[in-house]
């Protein structure tokens, strides 16, 4: 992928809290090309959302990017002045949030919130901006967009609000969209609609999409590539179909084994023993070690990212390579 839209190299975002340093994102690398969808999967607190916010330059104190590079078309976004970053946010990289009930300002009308997005980046008169907003609403499948423009967020259902948020993200035809669990708060039927809509838009506009989620089954049918995060690190990365069919990392294997639809009926679901570690002051070594059946003394040093098969990266000393098909 030489024509990468975004290339993240050894990104480290740490939170300096009173209780200690939380390494929310620790040495994370991935890249994403145009027209591609990358799934970023992990449990709560695994650092997937913080990765997204790091790219947007929206990590709030006490959090800080302490290392690594975020190359957007070759330009490093880490350490970019706020004024420069602001020009990229919303115009070239857009973001969609998890809870559509919370992402729109309750006291501002939809047209206000859309027009301000256009006018933040382009010198456009009010009427033109309004027309573009209306077209954007139509594009994401909102009926009678002209009337809906004058409505307030509370007059929309959850699914419709998420469509509005997507329409706002699409206003400037960004090259990259970071979607932070955008369907988690929605009904399954609405979820399917939004997934379909997003897939279509990515293909039409040839943009990159990072889909952050904890729901492996959503990503499996959507993404091209998959990154599995655990305790701030990407433990496995590769094409989505291959990972789902044949996971290399023990954590990924456990994760996939616990998806109900992939198990035969009547059989108890496999579980990953133990709990996700508290992210404060993690000991060195593989963070999955205490829960891993294959762990041994070697795992007390941090495993490096290795390409175990072509295009298949994992951080593990004891990968599941033997049961290859």
């Amino acid at each position: 992928m030489s024509n990468a839209v975004l290339k993240v190299e050894n990104l480290q975002t740490h939170f300096f809290t009173k209780a200690g340093v939380v390494k929310s994102v620790d040495d994370v690398s991935f890249e994403i090309g145009r027209g591609k969808i990358m799934g970023l999967v992990g449990e709560s607190g695994s650092g997937k959302s913080v990765s997204g916010f790091s790219i947007m330059g929206l990590v709030d104190p006490p959090g800080r990017i302490v290392g690594g590079r975020i190359l957007f078309h070759g330009q490093d976004l880490v350490g970019l002045p706020e004024a420069e970053m602001r020009k990229i946010r919303g115009r070239r990289i857009a973001m969609i949030f998890q809870d559509p009930m919370m992402t729109l300002n309750p006291v501002l009308r939809i047209d206000t919130q859309m027009i301000e997005t256009i006018q933040a980046h382009e010198k456009v008169d009010h009427e033109t901006a309004r027309q573009r907003s209306r077209d954007a609403l139509g594009q994401v499948g909102i009926p009678s967009p002209e009337e809906r423009l004058s409505a307030y967020p509370h007059q929309f259902s959850g699914g419709m609000r998420q469509r509005v948020a997507i329409a706002i993200a699409l206003l400037h035809k960004p090259e990259l969209i970071i979607a932070d669990e955008p369907t988690t708060a929605l009904d399954v039927t609405i979820q399917a609609q939004i997934l379909y809509e997003m897939q279509k838009l990515v293909a039409e506009q040839n943009m990159g999409l990072i889909w952050v989620t904890h729901d492996l089954s959503v990503v499996a049918g959507l993404a091209d590539e998959l990154c599995v995060m655990y305790a701030g690190r990407i433990v496995e990365r590769g094409p989505v179909g291959q990972i789902v069919d044949d996971p290399i990392h023990p954590y990924t294997k456990g994760l996939i084994g616990s998806v109900p639809s992939r198990n035969p009926r009547g059989q108890p679901l496999t579980q990953i023993p133990g709990m996700a570690p508290t992210p404060i002051d993690l000991p060195p070594g593989c963070p999955f070690r205490p829960r891993c059946a294959r762990a041994d003394a070697a795992c007390e040093t941090t495993p490096p990212v290795e390409e175990h098969r072509p295009g298949r990266f994992a951080r593990c000393f004891h990968p599941h390579l033997e049961d290859a098909a």
Binding site: M56, L58, R86, K87, I88, R89, G90, R91, A94, M95, F97, Q98, D99, M102, T103, L104, N105, P106, V107, L108, R109, E116, T117, A120, H121, Y152, H154, A165, I168
Partner: protein, 325 residues
């Protein structure tokens, strides 16, 4: 809307009736105003004549109905002490209190909101911490002591401002007020500051809490992710939302400033209604007390009505037709 206002007015009428019953019973329980008004060595005939003249010979419930009958004709009775119509007495003192209250509220809003926003945006800065420390001081310094200090510093030592009394009034658009004369202002500043200090602290803390709370919400982060300028995020997205609780509290506080300016009026010899009501309670001057309370209750009702209407303007989720009370 009109249904809402009509219902409000009906409720207010009931409220007024209940209030007057309580005041009648309360004053009756405290003592007989005649014992205070008439000198101890008055003869029995003089005593009886006075009782009859004031209508105190009737049983209490009858006195109350006489009062209601007069009230229906807009007559609140004459002051036992001044032998003037009670309502006229209260209304003649009201402008002085109103201008004091409005000046105090103006100070607390224009000083409190900017300081509160600053403290909310930079909670860990030196300025932010100082503002909060100052607001604690403003809360805890006794009002009377703080008033005396103001007089000591600005009137006695520095001799910049007069120590008390209300300045000459000037007329503007048919309104008589000290606000329209320079000397009037010099009399107003100290008592207004004294009255405003507590309210300013309240507004600061409320604004700060609102800003802190709102900044964490998704829609603020989403607004930043859209690439909006910091100014727009703060003054439109954050500010419009914190206005909702602010308007409620400021409205209520305006009422209480009018009603409870007693201490300030006493210290600064300000001829307002606060002083009048204290004097009237001492001599159990029932008509004045009742007239005062009716005026104050009416004012609270009007302020609350205005707050509710403002509410529906500020918050699109509130519709007056849906409000039950």
């Amino acid at each position: 809307m009109s249904v809402f206002i009509l219902r409000r007015l009906m409720q207010s009428l009931v409220l007024l009736c209940v209030m007057t019953v309580i005041v009648f019973a309360g004053i009756y329980a405290i003592g007989n105003p005649i014992d205070i008004l008439i000198s101890a060595d008055a003869s029995q005939e003089e005593y009886d004549r006075a009782v009859r003249a004031l209508g105190l010979d009737l049983p209490l419930w009858e006195q109350y109905f006489v009062f209601l009958g007069n009230l229906a004709q807009g007559d609140l009775g004459k002051s036992f002490v001044f032998n003037e119509p009670a309502l006229q007495l209260v209304l003649s003192r009201l402008p002085a209190t109103l201008e004091l209250a409005f000046a105090a509220m103006l100070i607390s809003i224009t000083v409190g909101i900017p300081l509160g926003m600053w403290a909310g945006l930079r909670p860990d800065g030196i300025a932010g911490r100082s503002i909060m420390a100052g607001s604690i001081l403003g809360f805890s310094l006794p009002n009377f002591w703080q008033g005396l200090m103001l007089i000591m510093i600005f009137a006695v030592f520095l001799q910049w401002l007069p120590a008390g009394g209300r300045g000459p009034t000037a007329s503007f658009l048919g309104m008589e007020s000290t606000l329209f004369s320079a000397e009037g202002w010099s009399h107003l500043i100290l008592p207004a500051l004294n009255l405003a200090l507590f309210k300013t602290s309240l507004v600061i803390r409320l604004t700060r809490a609102g800003v802190r709370e709102t900044l964490l919400l998704d829609y603020v982060k989403f607004a930043r992710a859209k690439g909006l300028s910091t100014g727009r995020v703060i003054f439109v997205h954050v500010f419009k939302n914190i206005l909702i609780p602010l308007v409620t509290v400021i409205g209520l506080e305006l009422g209480s400033v009018i009603a409870f300016a007693v201490v300030t009026e006493t210290i600064f010899a300000w001829p307002g209604i606060g002083k009048l009501i204290i004097d009237s309670i001492f001599v159990l001057d029932r008509p004045v007390i009742v007239a005062y309370l009716i005026v104050i209750v009416l004012m609270f009702i009007v302020i609350n009505l205005v707050v509710d209407i403002l509410y529906s303007v500020l918050d699109p989720r509130v519709r007056l037709a849906d409000m039950k009370s």
